[in-house]
Every structure is written in C-alpha cells, then in structure tokens.
Subunit: 436 residues, 2 copies
C-alpha cells in the first residue's frame, strides 16, 4: 500500500513553470467613469497577470461619460471617452459594465446592450431593484446574461453562486446588514459618539456620501433587500413598499441600554416568505450578542440566509471603489468564460406586498424615567410582556416577548394616555437560529 | 417622470404561471450508496420541481457498491446496483458522483470517468487532498471538470465561486473551523462537559463517527486544509506534512481559563503564504471573543479568507448526509448547465512545506498552581512575555505577546527545569483583521 505522500509525488510532479494559454481578448465598454469606473479601468489595466493565467485579456476600448470636458485621472486606461451613446454602441464590445448609478439613463442603456445580445455587468442596486426581473427576462430572450454581484455586499460573492445552485437556493428568509454607512455610524455611536459627529466623521473618511440621505433613511438597504427578495424569494416588490425606518432616531443612550440588555442595535434588512406572503422591514433593530450580525461592525456587511439545513452566513467588505471594481471585473471574467447557451428559465417571480405584521420581540424605550415594575405591568396589561428591563439616564428600556407591531403600538399608546410617557420600539432578534 | 412602481408594473407584469422549459435529462452514476449516497439518490428523485424549473431532469440509472447483497433503503431510487466497475462504466452517463470516501478505489474510478470525458462531482476530501491537482489536470486534458464543493464546509458553497473569480481569489491566507465533530466536542466542554462525555454524546447524536479518530486527531481538518491551500494558495502539500494537533488534550479547565482571558479554544486550521513560503497548522487554538470564528459553535463550520480588501467570512453547516447531498446535486446542476468548453489553465501549483515558525500569540498553561508574577518573570526572561494571566484550579494560564514556537518551547523547557512545573501552549489569535 502506498502512502498519500508517495501518490502525490508520483502523479503530479508539480511544475513551477507557468502555463501559457493564449488569452482571449475581452472588450469592455464602461457606462460611467466616476470613482468606481476609474477603479475598474485601472484594475483592468493592472491585472493582466492573473487574468492571462485565467485565459483572458480584458481591455477597455470605450467609456460613455456625461461630460468629456472634465479631467479624469483614469482616462489613460480607456481607449476612447464619449458622451454619445451611438458612438459607444458603434464599438464592437464583448461586455458592457454599467457603473453610472441611478435608474435612468442606466436602464435605457442596459436595455440597448442586452437587446444586441451583449452581456451586462452592473453594480447598480437602484436599477436592479427597480427593473431586475425585466432585465433578466430581456437578457434571457436575447441569449445573454445580466450580472449584478457588486450591487449588494460588493466584496463578498454569493448572488451568482446561488443563481447556479437551485437546491442551496431553497431559502425562506434572510437577515442582513446591507448598508455600510449606517453600520459605521451605529458602531461609532456604540463607541460613544453622537449621531451628528459619527456622520461627520464617516463623511470625512470617505465612508459616507456628501449627501448621505439614501444611506441613513434606509433607502439604499431597501433597494438591496428588494433585489435579494426577488433573487431568493422569487417575489417582486418595490423599495417604496418595504416598511423602512432610518437610523437617525438612534442615540448613544439606546446603544448603552442595548448593551446592558445583552445585545446591540444594528441597521437590519430582514425578509421571510411563505407561499407568496412576505414579511419584511428595513431599519435599526436590537440583535442579541450571540446573533451572527451582532459583531458585524463598521463598513462591513453581512447576511444570514435561512434554510432548512441551518443558517448560511456571508460577511465582508460591503462597498468602496476598489472592492466594487474587483467584483465587477470578476463578473466580467465569468461572463467571458461561461457558455453563451441560454440559461434555463428560473421559477417565475410573483408580485408581493411586504408587511411587518408577524410576531417578534421588541426593544422598547420609554422616556421620563418611569418606574420599571409599574410600567412593565401596564404594558403587560395591553399584551406587551417585558422579559428584561434596564434604566439608563432618564429612560426605561425593555426587551419584550414576541408580539405584533399592532399590539406594540396599542400598548405604547395606552401607556402614553395613562402616564404621558413617550415611547418607541424597535424589532428585537434573539440569537436563536441565526448564530453561525 | 415615472416612479419606480410604475416602471415595474409596466415592464414586468409578473406572470405567476410557471414557465415550462423542456428539462434536459442528466444521467448520474453514483460511486457509492452509503449514508450520503442514499441521501443523494433520494434528493435526486424528490427534487424534480426545482430542477425542472432549472431546466434539468436528473436520474440515477446506476450505482456502484461494494456489496449488492446488503439491503439498501435507497435502492428504489437507483436503476441498477452493481459491484462491477465495467458494468457501471458501460452505462451512458452525463456525470459521475463519487461518495465512497477514502483514496482507493475512489482514485482509480474517478480517473476512469475523467479519462472518458465524463465530469466528476465528489465529496471526498481525502481524495482531493491527495490527488486534487492531478485530477484537475486530467479533467482539463479531457475537456471536462472535477467539482468538490461538498468536500469542505459541505453546506456553504464558496470553492466553485472563487474558482471562477480570479480577482477575488487573491487570497493570502485563511483561518477556519473545518471539523464539526471537534467543534461539537469543544463546544460541549466549554458548556461544562468532559472530553469523554462530549465525544460519547456526539456519537449518540450521530455527530461523530463510530471511529472518530480522523476527527479528533485533526487528520480530517488537515486534509481539508491541504485542499484549501492548493485551491487558494496554489501550493501543493500533503496532509501528513501539516503540523497537526488533536483536541484530546483540551479539558474543561482550559475552556474556563480561555473564557476568563476573553476568548475560547477552537479547533482551527490556519494557513498563510507569501511567495511560496507556507505557514500552517491544524489544532486547538485560543481565539479572542471578537474573532469571527469565536462564535462558530457545535457542528457549524466557518472560514475567514484573508484578502487585501479585508476578511471574507463564510459559515454554515459543515457536514451531514442531507447537507452534503444538496451540495453534490447542486454541483451536478452546475456541471450539467455549464459550457463544455475547456476551462483555461489556472496558475500552476508548486510544492511547499508547511511550517509554523512565525510569531503568534500563545495561550500557555502551567501546572501546579505556580505564583503568577514569578512565573511570568521567568518566562519573560526567556523571551515569552505574558500579556494577561488567570489562575484556574491548580493551573496558571497566560496569553502572551507574539513570539515563535521555538522560543515558546525553550521558555517552557527552562521553566520545567527551574521549577518542575509542566507546561504546554496553544497558538492564540486576536480579533484584529479577522472580525467580520
């Protein structure tokens, strides 16, 4: 009997001379040459060693930009800059990469590429949230593909993986941190900062946009959640329809209370579905310390996919030009090496209306330093039972047993009527079923 | 200007009538019909809805087994059982799935399939650790593929993903929990069990094999680490060459001390590489509470891939017949839908010798309740500086500043010579760089 070592030596004789396949030229047309576009053009020019070993030689003959007068540091990596779509589409292209952002004119331009059978790679969550199903259908009818790995948790490939794997894709819900700016701000608040200072600091470090409203209102996460609900649940919703709360109401006292109650407040996106019924929300929520997302800090993003086989967890860098460029160019490589044979039709997606009406735990805050026992009893008499309470500064905080949002509203209104104490509540998630 | 909602309604008109592509028959030949093989044959027969929507209709016309006399509950899902390889290979097959385990006869049978250009899907980490490079070369030469997603963290697809993505694959190291049995036992010990009781309980719950030696000695994790080092580092090692320690030396006092020092002891597999030099080990190690792997409990597996863009984390169910069957059948679906065009040659892999000679922190245990300050000073005089100490029962525990294994050995030997106190040490990992 031979040992493993002998077998290995026998048949592989590791050759350390590089193999020299003849790389195939891949002509990339870029729709956009802003921060992400510049990072992509630079990466494409600088990655020839890895990509030639993979059999590919990508080049960027043309980029469509809004203004050809503005100086652009990455212009040297692009053959031609144009602001004319006809000039752009007159070039022979193997793949179009869309990094303009926003729905229009991106939507029209992507359709134009797919109509010609040219595959499209995009990082644009607004576009995929609004028109993902229509664009995938269009790609399929034209025998080509639309890829959008970079549109959601840009640094961690998982969307394309599940696209190819019908059995792993038996997912019945997900909980995620999809917006790095919100998570950076809440992490800073947990470390003692105020909301305003945390936002200012994130902007100065380039982690938040000059106009951060899409991030802090939850709109960005709602678009990404919409995209993921279509992907994994085969349900069509609009971002506007997702019950969404921004993070601006969360303050340092909330974070201290959450820590005292054994967890943290995180900017969550959550969805679960069952026979076409969809429960979903975006907003700050309490997560117990053992939950997989409790420790996703700063600009890191993460997702827990719920399957009957247990939770599957993916986490890593969520955004940034260099991170996004890597994922876009990998999508280009996949598109360039995969078969042009039409992918089979997936299960048709159905329209759905997301609600948040099911029972969950709640993280309740009551202003005015009310007495804990009496307040708990009063809330309990309206069906909102407190499991644990903590008093921080002038507020009473409670973690409740599971109940519906309607019951929480009724109990908090009754409390206000009885005592005058203002109160609010965030959904609360235990670690159970979400620890991996 | 139209709203997102109007656009969506306009172009998708969600059809809830299922599409009816004509599914392609995929003839699977199973090498093996044990626990995993039975789960696969059953899943193949019972997944027709998902798979037809994906355009595929897999069937299992034949399975090769050691004995055709043994009653097999899953035989009803297989056209023909045979113990004759010639009969097996006389069937026209679209894919061969190998779930026999072990290196031979699996190796010869997989070569025979690949030699005929038939793609192979396997869950066999021993086979891929020993012969992965040779088998991938053979597949490539025959214009076909070898897939082994189920061989490592069976429930979480990531290996095939990185195979397709050359830029995300710029990974320079990894830290992982790859053996669910070891992790189940250490988790139970952390919760107050003894090693013997934890092993016995894991066996009774079907989480540990009747012969658990490959799990508790670290051999299983060393094979999986070997496979991952080839995959991500393009370095060829043998499992025998990986410095490997089993978990049987870890007791409940160690786990209590680890908790006092702000972490846990986990069954790790670790590797990092730089220009052909490879640092690697398998064995129990201290991980700080903020580390991504500190909270991977029980049968769950997890991996942190180190990239210049930050850590990428994947976690989920690591093994089990049903989990493994899902991943095997998804690999079959990928093989059946992807192009038969030869994948380009990847970068050639080189032989390497794994060592654990670099500096790391250490979790030191000294028997005999020695005085903390004097012992720390003595260890420090030999270059092993303690950052924190804790005394539990009759032992002194310390977390040290980074140093090499050689210095640790020298210091512990000097301590023993001076005081007679027996001591041992495990590598210690902080959360830095590994939190996601």
């Amino acid at each position: 009997m031979t040992s493993v070592l002998e077998n290995l030596a026998l048949d592989s004789e590791p050759p350390c001379t590089p193999t020299t396949p003849r790389p195939a030229t891949v002509r990339i047309g870029q729709l956009g040459l802003g921060n992400v576009g510049a990072a992509l053009a630079r990466l494409t020019a600088h990655s020839s060693v890895e990509l030639q070993a993979h059999g590919l030689a990508p080049v960027t003959p043309v980029a469509l930009v809004r203004s050809i007068d503005r100086p652009r540091p990455a212009a040297e990596f692009v053959g031609q800059l144009t602001n004319d779509p006809d000039t752009f589409f007159a070039q022979p292209l193997d793949v179009v990469v869309e990094i303009m952002g926003g729905v229009e004119p991106a939507y029209s331009l992507v359709r134009r590429a797919l109509d010609r059978g040219v595959p499209v790679v995009t990082a644009n969550k607004s576009l995929v949230a609004a028109h993902g199903e229509a664009l995938c259908d269009l790609a399929r009818r034209n025998g080509t593909t639309l890829r959008y790995e970079a549109s959601c948790i840009a640094g961690v490939p998982f969307i394309g993986t599940f696209d190819r794997r019908p059995l792993a894709s038996r997912i019945d819900g997900l909980t995620a941190i999809l917006n790095g700016t919100s998570n950076t701000i809440l992490t800073a608040i947990a470390n003692g900062s105020t909301f305003e200072h945390a936002l200012d600091d994130a902007q100065q470090r380039g982690l938040a946009e000059p106009d951060p409203s899409a991030d802090i209102t939850g709109r960005d996460a709602a678009e990404k959640l919409t995209l993921l609900i279509r992907q994994f649940g085969r349900l069509l919703v609009t971002p506007d329809a997702v019950p969404t709360t921004g993070i601006s109401g969360v303050d340092p006292v909330d974070l201290r209370a959450a820590a005292l109650l054994g967890g943290s407040v995180k900017p969550l996106a959550h969805a679960e579905w069952n026979e076409g019924a969809l429960q979903a929300f975006v907003g700050p929520a309490f997560v117990a310390a053992g939950h997989s997302l409790a420790r996703i800090h700063g600009a890191t993003n993460g997702i827990v996919l719920h399957s009957t086989r247990g939770p599957l967890c993916y986490a890593g860098p969520g955004a940034g030009p260099d991170v996004t460029a890597v994922t876009l160019l990998d999508d280009v490589c996949e598109v360039a090496t995969e078969s042009r044979v039409q992918t089979p039709n997936p299960i048709a997606a159905c329209a759905a209306t997301p609600q948040w009406t099911q029972e969950s735990g709640w993280f309740v805050r009551v202003e005015g330093r009310p007495p804990a026992i009496e307040t708990s009893e009063l809330l309990g008499s309206y069906g909102l039972w407190c499991e644990r309470t903590a008093t921080v500064d002038e507020r009473l905080y409670a973690l409740t047993y599971p109940t519906t949002a309607a019951k929480v509203h009724a109990a908090l209104n009754a409390l206000r009527a009885a005592t005058g104490d203002a109160a609010r509540a965030l959904p609360a998630f235990s670690a159970e079923g979400d620890a991996c």
